[in-house]
């Protein structure tokens, strides 16, 4: 193989990926290169013109240039694959539960909007359908048939449980019911949009929908390294995911044996279980 260019587009969650790649612990094939376009802006919006994705906000262009080594736009035909990191794609139960509840919540107090589990899964799917990740995927797909992989926003760290004070977030039976269906729905949505989701490594999952606390230590969010973060993860987490992604793309070094399973091998819901 002569060379392979992976384009990473992401929001603050791409910080961990960027750091993981720069850390040099990921073994890739010779000729493999990765260009990271990341911005901490909460809504990265891009125009699609002349075969390129051009940030609407100049601040985002600056961040893109900073993380990519000088490129302020994504020239689509220059890459062999795309990795969309975060960008509103993923399952954040804590956030969903701030907008609606399930009947299990009523055991712990009153709730105004109570929806069925099936409806909750549809709400999660609907949230992802409006994500920037799928918007970019559509823009990329208009010009390229290259694989588009999605590295979803990591599940919230388990340390968040003490902050959120929502007993349902640690209700194993509820999570076992909701999470596999949500993961399946969100994976299917990606597939319908020509993308493939790489859910986080089982090793990183504390409970369905929650990331182990150790992966939140030293979390990276593009701006700084934080000791305690309720949303982001550290580069160790990203290393595990990146190894799986390189393996999927056939770009993992033969010497490395990451032991990660990608979503082609088994059902996504199985993978997400700890």
């Amino acid at each position: 193989m002569t060379g392979f260019s992976l384009c990473v587009i992401g929001n603050s969650h791409a910080g961990a990926v960027w750091q993981a790649w720069k850390g040099g612990t990921i073994a890739a094939r010779q000729g493999f290169s990765m260009t990271v376009f990341a911005s901490q802006a909460s809504s990265v919006e891009m125009d699609h013109r002349d075969g390129s994705l051009v940030p609407v906000d100049p601040a985002v262009s600056e961040m893109f240039a900073f993380t990519s080594g000088g490129k302020d736009r994504v020239e689509i035909d220059k890459y062999d694959a795309f990795l969309l990191v975060g960008l509103g794609y993923g399952i954040d139960l804590a956030r969903t539960f701030t907008r609606c509840n399930v009947f299990e919540h009523l055991a712990h107090g009153s709730a105004d909007i109570v929806v069925s589990h099936a409806c909750l899964v549809e709400i999660i799917r609907g949230h992802n359908a409006k994500s920037a990740a799928l918007a970019f995927a559509g823009q990329v797909r208009a010009d390229s048939a290259a694989p588009i992989l999605i590295y979803p926003t990591p599940f919230r760290p388990e340390t968040m449980l003490s902050e959120e004070n929502d007993p349902c977030l640690s209700d194993q039976a509820l999570l076992d019911n909701i999470m596999p269906r949500s993961i399946a729905a969100v994976s299917e949505l990606a597939s319908q949009n020509g993308c493939e989701v790489f859910w986080q490594h089982p090793e990183t999952v504390a409970l369905p929908g929650l990331t182990k606390a150790k992966f939140a230590k030293g979390a990276v969010n593009l701006r700084s390294s934080i000791e305690r973060d309720s949303k982001h993860v550290n580069p160790d987490f990203a290393v595990l995911s990146l190894q799986a992604i390189l393996q999927r793309l056939g770009q993992a070094s033969p010497e490395s044996a990451p032991g990660h399973i990608n979503s082609h091998d088994i059902e996504p819901e199985t993978r997400a279980r700890a």
Binding site: F103, L106, C119, I123, I124
Partner: protein, 502 residues
């Protein structure tokens, strides 16, 4: 109309949504009525998914309420907070609220979930019934399925969406005038005891039954149902000062409208029908012409509101020619000229705005309708094809002789005489030979005529046979599977149940 209730004139409308079933609500909102929604769709559900889960259709998530007994039941349950575990139906490993089985497309995960969500729903309905100012209820059906053990009525037959039909447990009920009247009086008393200023508007669904569980023909059953419901509505309106009857049924279903307001299936009311009804509704009950102070309605929401209001105010003060006019301001004529929908009536434009579609100009519709006979348009609409204009058909037919057209009834396109002549080498052959080809002998001609006749007779016989077989089979099927017929009857009926609030 002799009498109309004074409806409150209300606040600005929320943004329009484009779901077809929300058209009436949207038109109401566009005209300034505040349509209550006590169980709004959660964020991020697409309009289609929200509708599938019963959100955004009515003022709460109660699904379709077809009978007055069902309405009374809802009010009583809401008042007491009662949830009867017998009303949880199952289908496979899923659980359904039998009193609103359509609101969860795949059912609930557990009976507990179904029960708790029903309790939540009833609490919302209780609040709704106490807070609404105006309640519009469309009387839909007289027929229903009843649980013999509890007397509960269901919106669908057991065993259709979920549950099992057990004749020992469920029975068919066709409500009478007296029963419906009494049920409504009980409902009114119950709700008005806690909401004294409530005004009620009754309508009767113009949608005919597609099937009946009685032994009568569906036309007979439809006439019974509509007559009884219409009589009850009229009687209630005559008796109670806070109850009014709005004659949407008459507008849509009366012979004077010649079926014009129905879709091609002759059941659903088309957008023109909705527009006509809403126009009369607003004429009678008053639409809002000006938004509340400090609030504005978007042009999209009210396509004509601004253009109607603004000139009216100006004209009263100064003649048009003398009025100072900013360079950017258009004249009313210019504005009208720009509007592609200038020929469509206002109510239709509102419907079209609610649907996100461009209304068809009346002249265009007339032109289109002239070309193709109505029956053919209906068939084409049912098949999803474009109807062929009469002139086109005539032109096409002229090309081939009738006998050939009949023979071509096997589905092939009859060949035009000129084409046949051009194709056949015999055309260039000597006259005698050509005559031999073109003019069949008497015996041959006779045989051809006989064949055509036989084909016609055979066709007629086949048609008659198929008709007889079909009706026999339908009758047999209806007899063998009573629940299926009943399911159609209850599932397809339309209703409108809305509540307004100041």
């Amino acid at each position: 109309m002799q009498r109309s209730l004074r409806l409150p004139r209300l606040t600005k409308s929320p943004p329009l949504e484009t779901v077809r079933t929300q058209v009436v609500r949207n038109v109401l909102r566009t005209n300034g009525f505040s349509v209550i929604d006590f169980e709004p769709s959660p964020h991020f559900l697409s309009p289609e998914t929200a509708k599938a889960f019963g959100y955004g259709i009515y003022s709460a998530r109660y699904g379709n309420i077809y009978t007055v007994r069902q309405l009374l039941q809802l009010a009583q349950d809401a008042d007491s907070g009662t949830v009867d575990p017998l009303n949880i139906w199952t289908k496979g490993d899923r659980f359904y609220d039998a009193l609103r089985p359509n609101i969860e497309p795949d059912g609930f995960d557990s009976p507990e979930e179904a029960t708790v969500l029903r309790e939540q729903h009833l609490a919302k309905v209780k609040r709704l019934f106490r807070r609404m100012n105006v309640f519009i209820f469309t009387l839909g059906l007289t027929e229903a399925w009843v649980d013999k053990r509890t007397g509960r009525v269901f919106p669908t037959a057991p065993g259709t969406i979920a549950g099992d039909f057990d004749p020992g447990v469920y029975e068919f009920k066709n409500f009478t005038y007296d029963e419906i009247y009494e049920d409504f009086v009980e409902f009114r008393d119950l709700v008005c005891a806690r909401n004294r200023d409530l005004k009620i508007i009754l309508t009767v669904s113009p949608v005919p039954l597609t099937a009946t569980a009685t032994d009568n023909h569906v036309l007979v059953a439809t006439t019974y149902s509509k007559s009884v419901l219409r009589a009850v509505a009229g009687s209630l309106a005559d008796t109670y000062s806070n109850v009014d009857y709005f004659p949407s049924y008459e507008m849509i279903a009366s012979p004077w409208s010649k079926g014009f307001f129905y879709e091609s299936n002759m059941r659903e009311v088309n957008s023109g029908g909705v527009a006509a009804v809403m126009r009369v509704f607003f004429d009678q009950h008053g639409a809002i012409e000006t938004p509340a102070p400090g609030e504005t309605l978007s042009e999209e929401a009210r396509p004509e509101a601004t253009s109607e209001r603004r000139p009216r105010r100006s004209r009263e003060r100064t003649p048009s020619a003398e009025r100072p006019r900013p360079a950017t301001e258009e004249t009313a004529g210019e504005r009208r000229g720009k509007r592609p929908n200038k020929r469509a009536p206002r109510a239709e434009r509102q419907i079209a705005a609610a649907e996100g579609a461009q209304p068809e100009a009346a002249s265009e519709r007339r032109r289109r309708h002239k070309r193709v006979p109505r029956a053919e348009r209906q068939i084409a609409a049912a098949e999803g094809t474009q109807p062929e204009a009469t002139s086109e058909r005539r032109q096409r037919r002229e090309r081939a002789p009738r006998a050939e057209r009949l023979i071509a009834a096997d589905g092939t396109q009859p060949e035009a005489a000129s084409e046949r002549r051009r194709r056949r080498p015999e055309e260039r052959a000597p006259n005698a030979e050509r005559q031999r080809h073109e003019r069949p002998s008497r015996a041959e001609a006779k045989a051809a005529r006989a064949e055509v006749k036989a084909t016609r007779v055979k066709g007629k016989a086949t048609q008659a046979k198929s008709k007889a077989t079909k009706s026999k089979a339908t009758r047999a099927k209806a007899k063998a599977e009573p629940t299926e017929a009943k399911a159609d009857e209850v599932v397809c009926e339309d209703i409108l149940l809305e509540a307004f609030n100041t």
